[in-house]
Symmetry: C3
Subunit: 215 residues, 3 copies
């Protein structure tokens, strides 16, 4: 028996989780790119069509998350604590849900004009999700714990940026003479965008607790 096969024979089956989590965060990066491009678009028909294209990505993400839960049920041995896999899968799934939720609000509420707050959130979310992707890739070999920690710290600070952007947005909305229906639309959209950054932070916190246990 060649050494390669020998290794493969004993390669734990639990390694399937790394690939699945990498698929999830790669798809989140893609979603955040489409979302960012959409909300920066001046032409609202093109923007709406980009936003609607997120539905398929969100469904794809749902399916990968579902496979993670199936594997979690099947595998007695897991690379990290079962509860951490559960919480990481749930919070990453929430990131996708809330990006899609924000996209749907823009479409369903007929929010036609491009606005700086939404563009600002799209950028924060895009950067957060990229850091999640980096961190998850490093989980596979656990060699560069510092870069995982750095990614998590950045996500935490991006969540703070999101909080401040929401504060600024709310102060702006409530001190303006905007009509109530428009205020309702924007308030709901901005609050949903801020939740995306919260969910990224939740995921980062799980990753941090995984590396504490394994360091």
């Amino acid at each position: 028996m060649a050494f390669g096969s020998f290794v493969k024979l004993f390669m734990p089956k639990d390694r399937v989780f790394y690939g699945l989590f990498e698929e999830v965060t790669a798809s989140l990066v893609q979603m955040s790119e489409v979302f960012k491009k959409a909300v920066s678009e001046e032409d609202y028909a093109r923007r709406d069509s980009l936003l609607k294209s997120l539905e398929e990505l969100e469904h794809k993400n749902d399916e990968i998350t579902h496979r993670i839960f199936i594997e979690l049920g099947r595998n007695f041995i897991t690379p990290f604590d079962r509860e951490d896999i559960h919480f990481l899968a749930t919070s990453l799934d929430d990131v996708a849900d809330y990006i899609w939720g924000a996209a749907k609000r823009i479409v369903n509420y007929s929010i036609h004009e491009k606005d700086a707050i939404t563009v600002g959130f799209a950028d924060i979310i895009h950067r957060s999700v990229n850091e999640l992707n980096k961190a998850v890739k490093e989980l596979r070999n656990m060699r560069d714990l510092r870069s995982i920690t750095e990614a998590c710290v950045k996500i935490n600070s991006l969540e703070n940026e999101g909080d401040e952007l929401l504060d600024k947005a709310m102060i702006g909305l409530f001190s303006s003479n905007i009509n109530p229906i428009e205020l309702i639309k924007k308030k709901d959209l901005f609050q949903m965008l801020e939740i995306v950054t919260d969910k990224c932070e939740d995921a980062a916190n799980v990753i941090e607790s995984i590396i504490i246990k394994y360091s």
Copy 2:
């Protein structure tokens, strides 16, 4: 010693969980029936009195959920993973809470007219909760795993129906000339009704993960 007593002696105490979960879903079925009947009612005084009767059912449900948590604390051995019992109890309790929350909104916001969206949600919720009840009954003997899976698939597809109904409702509200206060009432109510279907799906997902582990 008769064979019956012998069996009883060795019947695991953990079987108490089956009965408690069955009580919870039976009470959810009852709540969803009262809710459906109430929102289909043209006379709003009769409707409000039906809606208010949900409070007692919700309290009863709370008590059963509480007993599940007490049993979980007392029993070292459980029929499924402890975390699954925890998540299943929590999500079923959320179903009851959000049905009651929707009922309270109709009453507290003085929403007097019967409307098709609410009736649509009541029907989706009623069907979802019936599927949960079927699935939970089958957990006791785990003989008919296919029917459990089918119930969970139906609940997932009912949650999609709920999503689409909410989209339709929101597009309707924001493209109408409804006054802002009326919009706030309806938006809040419809979003709460959609959350009920999400919570049914959460419960179905836990049930699915239970049968994966035991199949």
Copy 3:
């Protein structure tokens, strides 16, 4: 070796959790006092400055919660089930987040007048958080289980008071001739205040399940 050192040598390291949870609930008591004082203040400049001072307390609370999760990652042995530590830390952190969230709404929405509903919630929250503080202190020695149970029962009944206060507030708002923007502000604030009482109840439920297991 003196008996003292001997005891210390064997004093389980897991006792760090008691101190951390006590720090969390003590800081919640402080937050609830500042919040109560702020919303009872007639002068809105003074009130806003008190509310803004909650940010620092919330950050401090975040840091303690973070340390609980780090200790949870490091310690193989914990004084209660790991999941209970996780849920207790999460729900107490939520209490702080939602108090701060309510404070930010008052400031960001420019809610200038003192109102009886907010004062009522501040009082309920203050009492709830004090009961949490009492219960957490008793966890250390587990000698007075009755007083822990009593605290939890009180928190549950305070959550009911919060529910009723929110019902009253909503009926009031929707039956008034308030302008829509003002209604949006108040509705959002009152709902957030009611969530604080829910999160206190969540924490009380975890504490109850801890004492069931250890009694």
